[in-house]
Amino acid sequence: MIITDQAFLRADGRKGIRNHIVVAYLVECAHHVAREIVYPRREHGVQLIGFGGCYPNDYAARMMRTLCTHPNVGGVLLLSLGCESFNRNSLREAIAASGRPVETLVIQQNGGTRQTIARGRQLLAAMLAQVATVPRATLHVSEFSVGTVCGGSDATSGITANPGIGRAFDRLVAQNAACIFEETGELIGCEDIMTARAATPELAEILRASVTKAARYYTVLGHGSFAPGNAEGGLTTMEEKSMGAYAKSGASRISGLLKPGDLPPRGGLYLLDVVPDGEVRFGFPNINDNAEIAELIACGSHVILFSTGRGSVVGSAISPVIKVCANPETFRRMTDDMDVDAGRILERRASLEEVGREIFDLTLAVARGGITKSEALGHQEFVLTYKSFEPIGPSCLPHA
């Protein structure tokens, strides 16, 4: 199935559904200047991302590289203070090698704040004109990638929005789209069910190990995963709670395990392992929902399906976020922020199948240029922290 003939064709052959320019600060010290450069153009497809740390981190470097060469990104302006550790040259080279226009501004070499902002705005105007002429191409569903995340969950999340997203994922996977789910810490108790869906026995063991790793990590951090409020909401066991989150993955075969920055080699369903490898370092694995969204996007997601019960408002830089609201009362209270009223299931105004179909249709509509609620409201949240990962092995992607 062809989704659109108006996708943005990048020089590296990848195809985007948005044509953004990202302005990326390479240390917090360059954040303000980057933000000021973006500000006048923030409603015209110019977005701000960055890494705040001054000390080098392979994970952050890889995340920035994959995000700056994401198919939804047409060009990049890098903002460096000048003395930070981030390797701006290798990032610029990677972006240039992808055929995207890239410029670097070093604040210490450009006369400071005022002059760098002025120069940045000039560069941006030229880049916008350049990116506007990017060729268009057909986007087949097998070239399309969708990620899912949940946040602000409540007792309704696991019975409406999450299984609704699961139904949409099943439809997408059946058409050979790449679909990515994550948060191994919320799959504790689902190991047997999940590993039974793995494409190979080796992958099954890898999936199981990723959940064991998450359980250990959270235990070290003193980060329990079943609170009294869960039982008040009707959840009895840990595996039941996990199933609520796991329901987002649908029922398709699991084709592989990714880590942040890995691209799915082909269509299918993939688990993104978001918990760092090795000893517990750098604090919480994911300090908030946007940390997970950024990782899903770094794995190539064109669109994010975000399930919420209590009512998250966030969007994201780079890829549009579709808000699937699980709770009908939240939907009525926060209609401006919500794209899908999955809570209709609770009021017998729709079936799970109908909601799944609506999410699927809306995902394709957004890929054709439809604007999500969070996009319309200007949400472009982004966060990137320190982490460390070992590379995935060949058994993680058995059909690559």
């Binding site: 995963s225 609170a227 009895t236 066991t237 017998r348």
Partner: protein, 106 residues
């Protein structure tokens, strides 16, 4: 026909989920029988869709979410008092307890 206040997430399940809060004294139709709700039951809680024997797996989303610890009648509330986890966590959060007062991620 299922009671409109109850949702079965998968046809293979043996529990319903209450999709609105049920009050004590409310009458439900479960497995062709009329059942009176004995105590207030909040949205999200489970009720047996049929008779479930002690030791039988509780199925929700077509997967086992634990086992019955005693016989459960159709329409009965299914929760901590009559089912338990089958999952033995590698790292128990609090020794001897399924539940901990830890921070709920998300």
């Amino acid at each position: 026909m299922n009671d409109p206040r109850l949702l079965m997430l998968d046809p293979a399940d043996n529990v319903f989920v209450a999709i609105q809060t049920l009050e004590a004294g409310d009458c439900l139709t479960v497995a062709g029988q009329t059942v009176t709700v004995p105590a207030r039951l909040a949205l999200g809680h489970k009720l047996a869709a049929r008779a479930i024997g002690a030791g039988e797996r509780i199925l929700k989303y077509r997967v086992p979410i634990g086992s019955a610890t005693r016989d459960i009648a159709p329409g009965e509330h299914v929760h901590l008092h009559n089912m338990k986890s089958d999952y033995i966590p590698t790292y128990t959060l609090e020794s001897g307890s399924t539940f901990s007062a830890g921070h709920d991620h998300h």
